[in-house]
Each structure stands twice: as structure tokens, then as C-alpha cells.
Point group: D4
Chain length 255, copies 8
């Protein structure tokens, strides 16, 4: 039951078509959420202008293709993460403008004439092996309407490389710091900038990195202020959080 239906019901009560008792029953049992709550997440998507996202892991190429078609019929943007080549092929068959960012395992279809550009997100990554996760974050942030600056290979064992990019660090609205191994990048970056830093630990490293646990714990224990953390290898999650922040800034600026 949406607002229109609610209004209709109440008009029927007003007109006597429907008795109060009957209306009480209808309202009591109605899925309350349907009036407004149910729209929360749609609402959120709408306000943020984020496209629907397909998380491909564990889906057959066929399933991915069907969801993709549905989304493209109703929208002009498609973002599919954790996509392998076969899943990309499946999408490409129905959308020949689909782009596959192989490193990041992301499929993008973007048919917007004028993609929104609410904020500048800087994505920094520690080592070459972290790039797939960093690229996932970067592509997703772009599709969600942000200008993205990529700063690859600025690990803390060579701090000067970071120092050379202080300007970019200061211009960012949100910084995403992607690093495996000892995960120190987030702390160093946060010490140099005044933007919020979203840290993404990666599962890169061997031995006692324990699948990213070392970097995760390091980032949670960052001695620098303003650092928050998402799940291991979760480039998409960091991009989403960054986009929410930028969107919030943008809408506040507008409104």
C-alpha cells in the first residue's frame, strides 16, 4: 500500500464507502513498511543516484545476464562487481557498450549523457598486487558519480612517493587507502590530509598476513585520526561509503 492507496482508503472512509472498523483492520495488517519504510533503500539509491549493483560471485553467467537486462531496461547505468570473463561475456551479449575492467573484475555500462560528479575521491594503493582491489574501488566510485584520482604504488616503505603527492591528498574530499601486508598506508595518508580516510585492507601478503588479517588489524589500530575501515578486499564497499559521504556533501551544498 503506497501513499496513494492510503489516501484512497481514507477518502473511502470519509465518503462512508468504508467503515472505520474495516479500515482499522486494513491498516493494522498492512505491511507498514509499504507506506514509506519499504522505500527506504530505493529512496537511498535514488537520492544518491547510485546505480543498482550486481554482485556476480556465485551467480551463473545466465543469471547475471538476466538481472543486467532488467536493470538496463529501467536505467542507464549498470555496475557488476566480482565478475569473471564469462559473466562479462554474458552481459556483453545484451549490451555491446559494456566495458570490462579486468583487473578489478568489474563490468560497467554507462549510458548517462551527463554523469554526476559530486566529489573528488582519491584512491591510493600500497603495492602492485593491491591494484585489483584499488581499481574496483576506483571504478565503482566513478560509476557512482565521483571524479577519481588514482595514486598507485605509494607504499610506506618509500614515504617520499607519498610526499610528492601532497597536493592531490589535500584536494580530495574522501580518500580511499588500499593496502595489504602491514596496511600502514592508511595511517601515513591520514597524517598528511584533512579528508576522511576509508581504509581497505587487502588479502595480499604471505605467511602471517593471514588473508588480510594483519592489514585489517593494523588499520583498525591506526594512530592517525579520521580513519575508518571496511572489510578485507572490499573495494566496492569503500567506494560506496565514499560516495555516500560525497553525495551528502553535495546535497548539502545544493540544498
Amino acid at each position: 500500500m503506497d501513499l496513494e492507496q492510503l489516501r484512497l482508503l481514507l477518502e473511502q472512509v470519509a465518503s462512508g464507502e468504508t467503515g472505520p472498523d474495516e479500515a482499522v483492520a486494513a491498516l493494522r495488517d498492512l505491511p507498514f513498511a509499504d507506506i514509506d519504510v519499504a522505500k527506504v533503500d530505493h529512496h537511498r539509491a535514488l537520492r544518491c543516484g547510485f546505480p543498482e549493483v550486481i554482485f556476480c560471485q556465485g551467480k551463473s553467467p545466465d543469471q547475471v545476464r538476466r538481472v543486467a537486462r532488467e536493470l538496463l531496461e529501467n536505467g542507464d547505468v549498470l555496475l557488476a562487481t566480482r565478475a569473471d570473463a564469462a559473466q562479462y561475456q554474458a552481459v556483453a551479449r545484451i549490451a555491446d557498450d559494456a566495458r570490462y575492467v579486468e583487473d578489478a573484475r568489474v563490468v560497467v555500462v554507462d549510458r548517462r549523457d551527463d554523469p554526476p560528479a559530486e566529489g573528488r575521491v582519491l584512491v591510493a594503493s600500497g603495492g602492485t598486487a593491491d591494484i585489483p582491489v584499488a581499481e574496483e574501488a576506483a571504478v565503482c566510485a566513478e560509476v557512482m558519480g565521483n571524479d577519481v584520482v588514482r595514486l598507485w604504488d605509494v607504499g610506506v616503505a618509500g614515504v617520499h612517493r607519498l610526499l610528492a603527492h601532497q597536493e592531490e591528498l589535500r584536494n580530495a574530499r574522501v580518500i580511499i587507502a588500499v593496502a595489504g601486508m602491514e596496511g600502514a598506508l592508511a595511517s601515513v595518508v591520514a597524517g598528511m590530509a584533512d579528508a576522511p580516510v576509508i581504509a581497505v585492507p587487502t588479502s595480499i601478503g604471505y605467511g602471517a598476513s593471514f588473508g588480510g588479517l594483519a592489514a585489517l588489524l593494523a588499520m583498525l589500530n591506526s594512530c592517525a585520526g579520521g580513519v575508518t575501515v571496511v572489510n578485507i578486499d572490499n573495494g566496492f564497499g569503500a567506494a560506496y561509503a565514499a560516495a555516500v559521504i560525497c553525495k551528502k556533501i553535495y546535497s548539502d551544498e545544493q540544498g
Copy 2:
């Protein structure tokens, strides 16, 4: 060497007082950071308007008092976290307007005529036992210049209590979700709002909560978008990150 000293040196080069070689040597060995980099964190503090913070744990009351005096001589705000009663007493002796938020173990001195109010931060907490951490987050966010709305005791076992506060959730610029035990609050809150959600796991719970590990993992694995996480019981860290976001929004709005 600060900018003035750099200018002086260069003027001496220009006037011939100092030869280029001598200047190369001076510049080569100068602690580069001192020109500008060294000011990064001061700079950050200045731009964000955050007061210096004393982390009291492991400090003697006397040590706390001395740092506090120094800060108050040079500023009009003081924030001391993880303070016990003795540490508060030590501060109170030199600042009779010091306020002790016992639950949160925070000491505040605020002598600003017109405290900044850049953004609205909503702090939600799951259970009664989480309030000290939540209150630490709330007080710190306030001192850092934000309007704070407190939503205590809105744990997920009674979702309706959260539903009753959807308006507040939607009006927040940043939401801090504080919860121990199963830490599900962050997910539920993020599903209802469009603001960035900073999740603070607490060490509340017994048995297999393992000192907050259960809540921490739950929050990192949140199925809701836009959730980032700070360390267990780190109310201050969440407030700082929230303040950085709000400040960023505010300064973007102004500038």
C-alpha cells in the same frame, strides 16, 4: 626552518650575502618537513577547529594536569579522554570550569563564546552497557563542533524503537552506531538512512563476544552499504572521523 627563514635565506642569496652552494647545502640538509610538511597535523587541527586531545590512559594525574595547563594557556578548549576521577580532579584544580562526563570518562573545558556547529551527528547505541562508549563519541563530537543527537537503547532486538526515530536518522549528516554483542545495529541503521554510518563495536557482551571481536567482525561484514568501522570501544575515533566528514562538508559549503 619556516617560510620566513626560507625567504630570508633566499634574500641573502639574492643580495649575495650567501652563495648558491652554501644555500644548496643548507636546503639539502634542512629538515624538509619544517617548511610546510611539519605543519600538516597542526594545519589539520586548525582547519578542522579541533581542540588538542589528551589521551589520559597510562598518564599520572600530574602529567595530565601539566598538559592541560599548557593547552588551556594557548587555547580555549580542552578535551581529555579515558580520564579517571583522579585525573579529572587534577584538571579541575587548574580549571574550575572543567566538566567531567563520568560515564564517558571524558573531561571537557569549553571556553569558546561561539562553538562551531558544522554538522549534525547522530549517535545511536544498542544497549545500556554501550552508553559509556556512545557517550564518549557524543561528547567528543560536540566538542569538535557538531550538534549531536543521542539515540540510546535502540538495539535490533526491538527494531520498532529504531523505526520510531526515522526522522532523526534521515536528518543526520553522519551517524555513529555503537553496539556490542552481535553488533547488528550498524546494518539496520544503514538500511534506514542515507548518511555515512561509522560503526563502533564495543567490548560489551560475555562469553564468545571475545572482548568485542564478535561485534567488530559483524560490523565489518555488514550487508548494508555505507558502513565503515573503527576500533573496539573507540568512541573518540568515531567522533573524530565524523567531525572530519562534517568539517569537510562545512568547508566545502562555505568555500
Copy 3:
């Protein structure tokens, strides 16, 4: 807004006192939960006949006393768990019929003339050191309206002690198996009975019991069917779950 108020509003709409638009606004913004959802947990408590429970840990004696007074003014049963002697004394001052089960750290006031007795719950415990948790489970289950049979000290290193009590095991509606160390009791008990078995690992044991982790994992991996597990040392939680099952059986039998 409760059902009466909803009905009132709708009658006003029917009578023209309130226009449909006004009613839409009222209904749209009303905390939906308040109609019915908000009563979920009260409702649950009511249907199950469970008294309110005070979790004393981290509360001052004074706080406990105030909550206790409020509960006793509105009800005839009080259950306070994790209570120390001081907290008990605080309750005893306002209720001289308060009983303190020291082992279990539970305070009980029961003024019901005719306490409900929906089901027979058997609480078995492995070793002497597990008794506090087992007793917490037993007392709580009793207060929640169940006949409780205690089977103390029936650890698996002497299986014959369990075999001697097969009759009781078979007569139980729900069995709570409390054990620390290797936590094998749950499996052995579940192999002998046809009632659901709720396993409570305890933190008893030294060295590699890791605060109950050993027993917890053992119980989760039980090779016997029908075993479910609650948190370490959570006697109250097991009692609550047992009471929910018995209540469900009882109400289904009645209705």
C-alpha cells in the same frame, strides 16, 4: 498511537471531523511500530508469562534497586541475574522476600500464588565448577514457569552416572546441558534422549580451554542431532530459550 487511537482517528475521518489529507499526514508520520509492532516484545513477554529480567552486571546497587522497585510495583515476579551480594542487599531492602541464589548469582522475588508450570526442563551439568552456570539456568527456568530437574555432576568421564538417569532424560521436554572443559556432555545426553538439547558451554577449564572456546566449539560440532548452542556461561539464555520452547508447546496444547 494504539489501536484505540487509530480507530478514533478513522471515526473522525468517517464523521468528517478530520480530512483524508490530514489523516494521511498523521498516519504517514506516526511511528508505525506504535500500533502493533512496538508491542512485540511486551507482547512476547506477556504471552510467555516471563517476568522482566534485570541484568545486573555493570549496574550500581542503587540502579538495581530502582529498577527492581518499579518492576515489583507492576508485577509479582522479579528475576535479577549476575547479581553480586551488594546488589542483592539493595533489592532486599525493598523486598524482604527476595531470595539470593548465591552460586548462580541470581536474585528472585516470586509473589505469584500459582506459578505457571508449563514444562519439565532438565538441567544437566558436567562438573562441580559448572554448577553456578547450571544453577543460573535452573533458577531462571523455574521463575519462567517450568518444573526443573537438576542433574549435577554427570560428566562424560563417568558415563554410567548419566545412564542411571535415563528415565529423567526421557521425561524432559527440554534438556539444558551445561559443561566446560571438553563440553562432551551435550552429545552424550542428546544420544540418550529425544528432547531438544540446549548446550551451554562454560568458561571452566584451564589452559587451552581458552575461556570456554573449547567447549563452545565442541558443542557446535556435536555429532548428535538436536543440539543447539548458546553463548559461553549463558545459563540465563539457555533457560529463556527452553522456556520459549515449553511455552510454545504449552500454548499449542491449550489452544
Copy 4:
């Protein structure tokens, strides 16, 4: 030695055919279990009406087929879990009415004219990826004689979806809540219903879900009463526990 044989022996003692000493020796050495204890688990199966179950993991298709044939010669129901396609084919060769629930990796043969239906079990699952485990729970619960209601995709990031199904939640005798990632579903569901909730953590999630550990800990720490937990991905175990509860209710109702 069964009861008949025991009676026979005693009659021989009564008739003088066997002397008391001889009988003492026979009874002393007899495997006591054989009188009655040995039947405990058969007995349990009989009373609960549960079919024998084949756990296929680690068995060859041939082994599965042989066990299946034996079971079907002596019964009219077959349940095989963790079965892959080859194992299903092996069963299908001897039972062309075998049904393969691929998602859940369960093989079912049900030749009962009138399957028992003791209770209504509601199986709720958080995300699409949790469905295989949820479906395992659902199919197993059905074969064990329960009406099953499936509630897929009701994760906590969209609480309204759960709110829309409150009626079903309240009508269930037992609820099985299946969720990976942050595992919060169990708490939210338990807060809305008055039935016992059996929580099944799944290994779904990436990074710091650590193979289901995050969800497992969250569920063990549920702040909602009445929640008990089974092993990670153990849909069958939850179904079995649910069936034991329902059977207990049913038999108590009947007798």
C-alpha cells in the same frame, strides 16, 4: 539380548532350567546396552518419525547407492544431504522417483502416502547466497514431517521486508534463521516472534567473515532472547533440531 530374551532367561530360572549363578554370569557380562539402551537412537528415530539420513560427503556414488537401496528396502523415505550430481545419479538409478534439490544438494525419496505434518517451521534467509543452506534446512524439515514456510532474502539491511511478514513469523512453531555476513537476522527475527529461533550461520561473506566465524559469533551474542545456534552451514542440523522440538510439541499434544 532384547526384552524377549531377558524374559526367556528369567522363565528358565523360574523353571529351574537355568541356575541363578549361571543367570548372574549371563546378565553380568551381557552388553547392557542391548536390553534397552542400544535402542536409544533407533527409538529416537522411531518416535520422531525421522527417516534415516545419508551424509554423502566423502562417500563414493556407489557407496551412497548401496546405503540408499538398503534404506529404501526397509522404509519409504530417503534423505541424502551434501550430495553432488553423481551421487544423485547413483540414487536415481535405483529409485526413479528420487528428487534432487540441486541448490541444497539434497536427494529426497518420499513414498509415504500420508507424510506427517507436526509443526510449521519457518525458514528465513538473509541473502541470495544463503539460500543453499536455507534450502537444505527447509527440505530436511519437510522430509522430517513439517510444513515449511520459506522467507528468502529478508536481510536486516532492509528491515521492512521482514516487517511485511510478521504474520508468518508469529504463526511458526519454530523459526530457522539462516544468514552469513554479519548474521544479524537471528536477532531481528527473534525480536519479532515468540517462537524458538534456531540460528544457522553461513560461510557466505568475504574477507573478515572468516568462513562464517563472524556470523557465528554474532548469533551466539544475540541480544534477543530465545536464540540458539548450530554449526556454520549446518542447515540439516537446524532442521533436525527444529523437528525434534515440533515432534515433542506434537507428541505432547497427542498424548
Copy 5:
């Protein structure tokens, strides 16, 4: 029902005093264990000649004293482990020949004229800090009837100290190797001797010893054959296992 009672019953059946049916009922319901099984652990204690042991942790001095009195009235040996000074005092009040091994926190009363001496147990310990656990093992093994050789402070960082004691290592029937930190003692000892080696990890060490976990894992992964492991700090457990082995050897030698 013991064997005498069983015989009596069967004689009554033989004489017609009791009918077969009545006897079936009596036998069917009798706690089977009581005939013989119930004596298993007593039996074990008897055959091994081990005194009853009081595990003092968590017991009040008064409780310890009462159990001690009961044991001493029926036997001539008392062993109490994990005893603090107050618990020892309580025992001393009823047994002035009680001896307190303070390091090992063990209380011993030994009134046997001729204590058994089945085997030679060598207890080796790595560092000074491991001695309390080693001494617990040594004293317990002695009270359980073994000659004990102590080899303190033979850690692996000075292998020559061990080499100097090869003779003792070779003469032992069972070796108990007690070590914290990296727990390597068990491997080195097992490489030098042909007796079974029971390894006891201790919680000694700091930082990443994680309460004995480091030593425990090291011992479980010993590259030397013949090493088995007991729980962290479980000197008593090692002594008990050693005594069981020696007893077995002894009784086999005798019989």
C-alpha cells in the same frame, strides 16, 4: 543394585518368590551401570592405587577441609592440587601431617607405610618459571606411586645441560617435559631417549606466547616421535597419564 542384589533377585525367581515378569521390570529399569559399569572409575582408581584428588580451584577452604576429612577417614593418602595457603591451612587443621608444596600449590598427606613405587618418572623443565608446573607433576607422580627424578632448568638454549643427563633420560620409564615459551624441550628430549614423552606446555612467556598457546602448538608439532601432549599448565594431568602408563607396565610385569 550390585551383584549380590542381582543374585538375590535371581534366587527369588528360582524359588518362585518373584515372577519372571516382575524380574524383567526390575532389571529393565535398574540403573545398569550399578551392576558393574558404575564401578569403572572406582575400579580404575583401585587398580592404579591412585588416591582421590581434590582439585581446589574455586572451592572454599571449608569445602576443601570437608572433602579432605572424608577422604582421610577412608584412606591413607590425600592429594590436593591448585591449593592456596588458606586451603592448605584448612587441611592442616584436620591433618597435622599435611605437607604443602608451595611452588606447586599441592597439599599431600601420605600415611602409607609402604608407598608403591612402580616406575621411574623423569620430570624435566625448561626454565625457572616452569618449575611450579613441573613440581606439580613431580609431586603428583610421587604420590601416585612413582620414583621421580627432577631435571630442572634444562632449556634448549643450552643443549649441553641436557646432554649431561643422558643417563637419567635413558633410565626413565616415562618422561614428562615441562616448558613454556617456545616449548622445544619436548622435541629435544624425545630425540635423546626411548621412553614415552608427555609434554606439558606452560603459560610462561610474554607477548606472543598467548598464555601458553605457542608452547602448546610447538609440542603438538614436535618433529620427534613418541611425544604426546596435555593441556597448558596441566602438571597433574601429565603425572596422571605417566602413572597410568607405569601402572600398566607394573601390573603387566606382575601378572
Copy 6:
């Protein structure tokens, strides 16, 4: 330098051929171990009569074959563990009497006319899936000269199955208890027998068994005396330890 060489040297000193100083130098620098210590492990093998063992994991079939040939040229017994089919084939090519115990992944060649039989080892296993590890223990114990009794499928969920085999349990000199999942078998068995119990946790189980950790911790925390533990899945290690114990008993009996 062996004993003969040492004697020779000393005779040269006695005869004046070699001066004392020269001899001091020779003795000081000689690898001490070579006199006697170096023979320790050979010695051990000799006294215990254990064949050399090939641990196949990580070796090529060719490597296995070469080691096997060498061993068989110098002995009449061969034991190869963790062997796959290819490795077995490689051995079979040079020893057509090689036997492959597929389940246990063990290759055996036994050409002894009169294999030693020092002790009776009982190997009990919990579930069908534990049999490979149990069989590894059994075969290895046999080859090392023990009579082995196998007790498969006596898990604790059906305690009566164990009760039916009390006689065998009591006749064993050493018991090896192999179990995965909750690993309770060791405790129950130790409560029924008076032989030393060596517990082998297996990696069998799913979800929170964490690769055998659950069983390992349970066994380390056994509430029954006389239980010691080896590494997860280490059937060979348990057999070796059992053989060491039996050998010790046997040699003590003989000598």
C-alpha cells in the same frame, strides 16, 4: 670417532705413540656426538624394533622408490605413510609384496618371519569419516610390532556401542582414540578403561570444526585422566607413541 677409535687413541696414549696434549686436542675438537650421542636415534629405532618410515607427502614417486629400495636392501620391513597411488606404484615396482592400505594411504612391506607382538593396541574411532586416520594408526601400530584391535564407529552419540566393548577396552595396553567433530570419544573411553589413552583429533567436521581445532581443544581439555593428545590427523604419531609405550612395557617385562 666411535668407541673403537677412542680406544685406539687411548691405547696410543698409553703406549706413548700419542702425547697427552695431542690427545686433548683431538678429543676437544671431536664431534662429541659421534662417540655415542649420534647413535641416539638409530639406537632408539634398534631398541624399539621400529622400521624406518617414509613420510611420502611432498616427495616424487621416484624419490619414494629410491628410499624404499635402500631401506629394503638393509631391512625386512618398510612403512610409508601419506602415500598416494602413484607413490605406491613406484614402491610396488621394486617390491611386488608391497601392500597398499588405500584408506590410510599407507604402504607396507613386511618380510619378517616372526613379527614382534609386544602389546595390544586398541584403536577406536568416532565416525566413518575418521577411519582413514584411525586406519593409519592401526596399520602403523601393527607394523611396529603390536596386536591391534579396531573399534570403528563408536561415537559418543551412541554410548551403548562403546559399552558393548568394555572387555576389549580393558584388555588393551594402550588405547588410541580417533575422533573429529567434538572429539568427545577420548574422554568417554578414558572413563571406561585403565590403559593410557592417546587421543587423535581429526580434521573431520564442517563449519566451526576449523580443520580439527574443535576436536583438538576438546581432547586437550578432557575431564578424564590419562588422556594425552597428538597433532590433528596424526595417526602415525599416535601409533608411534603407543608403540614406544608398549615396547617399554615389553622390554621391562623381559629384562
Copy 7:
């Protein structure tokens, strides 16, 4: 901006071509690191004479080949670690003097006429299975300019094998101790030598070695002084640290 450019700028200031203000601006914004800091790691490599290293894991053969070509055009040494056969083939196509150390998965090209030989590094390894990691350490240390002594298969279960090599242990400048399982080698070696010991835990072992965690913890808890630890299986890291130490010794000796 390098030193030349800095000098140029200052000369322009001296000559009046550039005003002081302009120079301040240029210097303020210049990436400071570029003057000197940026050369830190190159500098380090230069002083230590270490070749550039390619970490092959996760790179395509083609990528490895391209980096290799670049390195060989500018230098005369190439070291590639974690290389598989295909990656080696790729290098061999452009450098037919490439050598593949298969065990260690290392590719080496060494065209130096006169490789430096600063120090003697002894690499000791516990078991056969540890050799790949030990060999990686050995080869890398050689390429980095050290004489390397290999001591394979000197595990602690046969301490005499180590004792026989005391001379080599004492002659080493740095010792690398590589061991899996219980990782005790580092302690025993450190007790025999006076050189710094770098311990490398390996992931060798089964069951509760947990991928090298057992050895890692053991090494961190070494009771012997002078032991430091690198990551699990990190033979390269140990070699690098050893080379840094030797280089430091060498350069101090020279200078």
C-alpha cells in the same frame, strides 16, 4: 627537482634572474622528496649493492619478462623470487644465462665479473620439507653478495647433527634458521653460536601447525637471546636482512 636543478634555481636567485619570492613559491611547493629523500631506496640499494628483485607471484610470464629485460639493460644482476617454470622460461628467452633454482623457485642472472662477498651467512634448515624456503634464503643471500654455507636437515630431534657443525656455526656472521613444525631450531642454534640468528618459520607441518603459526610463535618466544623473526616462508626477507647486516659490517670495516 634534483640537486642540479636546485643549484640552478639558487644561481638564478643570486644573479637576480629569479626573485626571492618566486623562489620561495617554487621551493615551497616542490616535492621535497625529490631532492634527496626520493633517492633513499635507490641509495640503499646502491650502498648495499643489492640487485633489483622481481617478486613474481601474481605476475604474468610476459610481465616478468619485460621487467627482467629492463633490469638487465641497466644492470648485471637479476633476482626473481616465487617464480614458476613458465616465468623462468619467459626470462630465459631474453637471457640464456638465466639459472632456475627450481626448489627455491628463484631465477638468477649474474653477470658480475667479481661478485662482492661481504660476509658469511649460514643457512640451517630443520627438515627436508623446509629446504625450498631455506634454498630461497641461500640463493638470495648469495646473489646479494654473501658466501653461504648450507646446513640442511639439522632438526632438533637429533641435536647431535647440529653439534657436529659447531665450527661452521661459530664462523658465521649471520645465521638464518629455517624450520617448520615446532620451529625449535632457532633456539638451539642461537644457544650454540654468537652470531645474530634470523629465524624463518615455514608453513611445513600438518594439523595444528596452522600454516606455520606454530613455528612462528615458537620462534618469537625463543628462550635464546639474539633471535629475531621474519614472516612465514619468507626466505627472501631473511636473506635481505642478513645481507643488510653483513653489508653494514663490511662497510664499517672498510670505512
Copy 8:
């Protein structure tokens, strides 16, 4: 038996006083270690010039005093670590020149006229709370004969503070990097210097630092070469390892 005794024996053989057979027996059974091996650790101490160290934890003041007296009677240096005030007082009573470094919990008596000074050790620490561990490292390194440079409070969140000290970093022979929380200091320092870096994780941090585990893992996973790690909070161990390296360098320089 020391060398003198060995010589005496051989002279007796030469003189015929002792027969070769008798000497063989004496030598065969002599504790080999006593000739030379037994002196290994003394030898080590002598060569390195390290004083004996008392590890005070778990020792009574009286025990500490007795060991201290013994050491001071035979030497002119005393180092006692993990000493509390009472233990210091006990030492002060027998050595009024004892110095107590309270922060570091270290007691030092240094009566050398001319303490050795082999190398320059730089100790860097991340935060104020890490100073006790860093100071322990610094004091111990000094007593072991090194010049020590302290660099306190140079955490990675303000990298410029480190940059300002590049000269000191480059002049060090060994660097000890002490840091808790995210432990990133080691990586950043190693990237700036060419000395070996010994990393000491501290237990400083809250929540998910898990007693130093976060810093430990980070340091083990350092992306910078030349970093090795010691146990959590083990300042003494790092100092010892640093001293071993410096000693090695020094002795190589001399000899």
C-alpha cells in the same frame, strides 16, 4: 670435567696409572658438554661482554637480591629487567649505586671504568605509551656496550617528524623500532635507512590491538626489506639482538 681434568686423565693414561679401558669408560660417560660445549653460553657472554641479566618477573625481592649479590661479587655490571620497586629496593640494599629506570622497569649497576662502546644503536618509538618498552631496549643496549640514540614519539601519523631525523637514522648501525597500535613505524624507518631494523611490537593500543597482535602481524608483514621482529613488549630481546649484531661488527673490525 674440564680441560685440565681431561689433560690429567690423559697424562695418567700416558703414565700407565690409568688403563685405556678405564679411560674409555670415563670418557664415554662423561658429560661431553662439560669439556667445551657447556661453556657455549658463558663463552658467548664473554665474547660479547654482556653482563648476566636477571629477569625479575615472578621472583621475590629476596631471590632477586641473592642473585644480584652473587653477580656483583663476580662482575662489575648488573642488569635486572621487569623489576618492580620492591625488587629494586632489594638490590639497592646491597648496591647503593644501583640505578632504577622506573619507566623501563630496569635496574642497572655499572661499575666498569671504561664501558665498551661497540656500536651506535638508534631506538625509535611510536607513541608516548611505547616509551617503557623503548626505554627498556635503550637501557639494555647501553649496558651491553652500545651508544644509544633515542628518538621518541616519531609515529607514522606525522611522518615529517621522522624525516627531520634522517641523519640519525643513517648513522645508526642497528635500529630498534618500537611501536604498538598499527606498528607501521618499522616499515617507514626501514624505508629511510640502510641499517638492519629490529621491530618490537608493543601491547599498547585498545580493542582490536589484541595485546599487541596487530602490531606484531604488521611488523612481520612489513613491505620494507631488512626488518626482523622480536616478541611483543620484548625490549630486552631487541637490545640483545642489536648488541649481538654490533658486537659481531666490532669484533670483525678488530680482528
